[in-house]
């Protein structure tokens, strides 16, 4: 199989030490030599990687691992300090969605320009204008200048252009963090289409589920080196472990103990983890009758309510709820976005199950608060909230949907 992206022994050094652009005076004073001390920083140390044509590869790694630097170098922005990079096929890239748009140009002018830069002719991009605008859902705004757009609108337009230029190789840096859920779903569908059309995809993301769903292979980048390559499942597991490790390290040593409405006690570094920059408080498990005893009947109603304290500076955060069976099997995993609120105010997140068809038994509920790209854990409560599902036990199942058994009598007759 032919190779679409080939990265061999790539290293990249950045120098910093004050602003890089120097004035003539500084050059004269130092005699045009690099006298001033400059800090060196190797963003990538030795990266080799091959992506076969038509494959989808996800790059996972902690912050500062060099993921974005690697993707940019592959995209031809900057040059590696050492090593070589070859890309075969028409390249399109989605970096910092919308960063390439000038605020005073209209949406339409921006699309035209972006398309031509990406390698389409003027006529080709004009022919696709409707499709691009339609996908971005910006019909009414396309002739307004970009500065009138919200971040989400710019991101949608940038995504729409970048995925409409007949790319053979598509580089994607952390796109799915922007846009609302509906648009994220559209993005995913578009990636699926690309995949079946044989487009080579290389993605950097913080969202392991995205890699697991879409990629054939994953790369674990750490400290500027490829630490592991393997199946998406193996690598996302590594990622989760590293994330947990990081969350543990970021958890403060000391914080006041808090009692929960259910009567348990939240203790930091014991059953509560995360940086505590934002917090989940007063988690309530409410059954169909309004009681908060933490038990429901199988197929009954359950409402999980939590107060969320998020400083405005954090922007939007994600709140997550897991329901785990006593042996750790994750039965429910769902999340939503919560906006930051002013000091002293808090949102209440309410997760309502009209009927929770879990098999009778003991369950645990975990509640977590994460930043928008899942890269950081603010608050995570584990092993605090118990849920007892009552009913007639029926073996070791997870779910118990409404059902009924009948046994028909044998029919008379026959051969």
């Amino acid at each position: 199989m032919s190779v679409a992206i080939s990265v061999r022994g790539v290293a990249k050094r950045f120098r910093h030490g004050g602003p890089d652009a120097r004035t003539l005076k500084e050059h004269v004073v130092t005699g045009f030599r690099n006298v001033r001390e400059r800090h060196e920083f190797w963003a990538l140390e030795d990266v080799s990687l091959e992506v076969p044509a038509g494959a989808s590869v996800g790059i996972l790694g902690p912050n500062g691992a060099g993921k974005t630097t690697l993707l940019r170098l592959i995209g031809g922005i900057g040059r590696p300090t050492r090593g070589t990079i070859d890309v075969k096929g028409r390249l399109s890239a989605i970096f910092e969605l919308g960063a390439g748009f000038h605020p005073d140009l209209t949406g339409r002018e921006s699309v035209l320009l972006a398309g031509i830069i990406a390698g389409l002719s003027r006529d080709e991009i004009r022919g696709r204008m409707d499709e691009i605008v339609e996908f971005a859902e910006l019909r009414e705004f396309i002739d307004e200048p970009i500065r009138m757009y919200s971040t989400g609108m710019v991101a949608r337009l940038a995504f729409s252009v970048a995925t409409n230029v007949d790319a053979e190789v598509l580089l994607v840096d952390e796109v799915l963090a922007v846009g609302d859920l509906a648009f994220q779903r559209k993005c995913r569908e578009r990636f699926e289409e690309f995949k079946s059309a044989g487009v080579t995809l290389l993605l950097v993301t913080h969202d392991p589920s995205f890699v697991a769903d879409l990629c054939d292979e994953a790369v674990w980048l750490q400290g500027g080196r490829v630490a592991a390559t393997g199946s998406p499942n193996e690598i996302t597991e590594l990622y989760r472990t590293a994330m947990q490790q990081r969350t543990i390290e970021a958890t403060p040593d000391d914080a006041p103990e808090v009692s929960t409405p259910g009567g348990a006690t939240l203790r930091i570094r014991h059953n509560r983890w995360g940086t505590q920059e934002a917090q989940v408080q007063n988690v309530r498990l409410i059954d169909g009758q309004g009681s908060t005893l933490g038990r429901i009947t199988s197929g009954g109603r359950l409402t999980v309510e939590a107060d969320v304290v998020v400083p405005t500076s954090l922007g939007e955060v994600r709140i997550l709820v897991h329901i785990l069976r006593s042996d750790g099997v994750r039965c429910v995993d769902t999340s939503t976005l919560v906006r930051g609120a002013r000091e002293g105010e808090r949102h209440t997140a309410v997760l309502a199950f009209d009927r929770l068809d879990l098999a009778p038994g003991d369950y645990a509920i975990e509640v977590g608060l994460y930043n928008i790209n899942w890269g950081k854990t603010y608050d995570f409560h584990s092993g605090v909230y118990g849920l007892k599902v009552l009913g007639e036990s029926s073996g070791e199942a997870v779910v118990m949907p409404p059902h009924r058994w009948t046994v028909r009598k044998p029919e008379l007759g026959g051969p």
Binding site: A21, L91, R122
Partner: protein
């Protein structure tokens, strides 16, 4: 992919056209007079010069307004090209940081954008020539050649300042001073022959813009063929400088995304 691709050259042409349009659009967006603003500085200077050098300090140059306008428009194209080339990389972050964007196109695009303003003013100049001198000489057919030579002369320095302004931001300030001195050392509002006859002849001989202005005046006003020898010389020098400028620029280009 089965779709037939526009050739590399066609793509470049589209790209240059779009970027020049973008330049012109952005400069005058949200202004009422729009592109007319590009004509106002040289025209207002022309009015002042005509008053000063025909009434206050008479220079006795026939058809002074067209004489001065020829010099002014030529100079303005050169000067604004140099100034916008200086910032074409540092202000072009949105383009420089895009994958596949051919950064080498930025300085020529700056020159072509300014050429658009020169061409917009050209009808005014030709009209003034006809009104004041009563004819448009046949030698005016050489205008496109002179424009091509001026483009070549501007290209090398434009590449150099664009590349050097990225690490050393003094270039823009220094260039403004140099251009001001250069303006007065160029026979724009005074007669080229006076400079040639003076003890500063060397200033004229070494100044390609001065030779160009003389050539523009030859073909538009005096109705005679320009000195092909000196035009050939400055074209050759311009080509060599352009090659050097592009080399310098290419060598630095990979550092642009980091240095912006």
């Amino acid at each position: 992919m089965s779709v037939v691709r526009a050739g590399a050259l066609g793509r470049r042409v589209d790209l240059v056209r779009e970027l020049v349009l973008r330049d012109v659009r952005l400069r005058y967006r949200r202004s009422v007079l729009g592109v007319a603003w590009s004509q106002l500085p040289p025209l207002s200077l022309l009015v002042i010069m005509t008053i000063v050098f025909t009434k206050v300090i008479p220079l006795d140059i026939p058809d002074y307004p067209v004489f001065a306008l020829t010099g002014l428009l030529t100079w303005t194209w050169f000067q604004t090209s140099m100034l916008s080339a200086t910032v074409c990389v540092t202000d072009g972050g949105d383009l420089v940081r895009r994958p596949r964007f051919p950064v080498t196109l930025l300085p020529p695009i700056a020159i072509v954008s300014q050429l658009a303003h020169f061409l917009l003013a050209l009808p005014v100049l030709l009209g003034a020539v006809i009104v004041l001198t009563g004819r448009l000489p046949a030698t005016a057919v050489l205008l496109p050649l002179l424009i091509a030579i001026q483009f070549m002369v501007t290209l090398g320095p434009a590449y150099a300042v664009a590349a050097l302004h990225v690490p050393v931001r003094d270039i823009g300030h220094a260039l403004a001073v140099v251009l001001q001195l250069w303006f007065f050392g160029t026979p724009i509002f005074y007669d080229d022959q006076r400079l040639i006859d003076s003890s500063f002849r060397i200033v004229y001989e070494l100044n390609p813009i001065a030779h160009l202005i003389t050539a523009y005046r030859d073909v538009l006003i005096r109705g005679r063929w320009p000195s092909f020898g000196s035009l050939g010389l400055i074209f050759g020098a311009g080509a060599i400088l352009s090659a050097a400028g592009i080399m310098l620029y290419r060598r630095r280009a990979h550092t642009f995304p980091e240095e912006l």
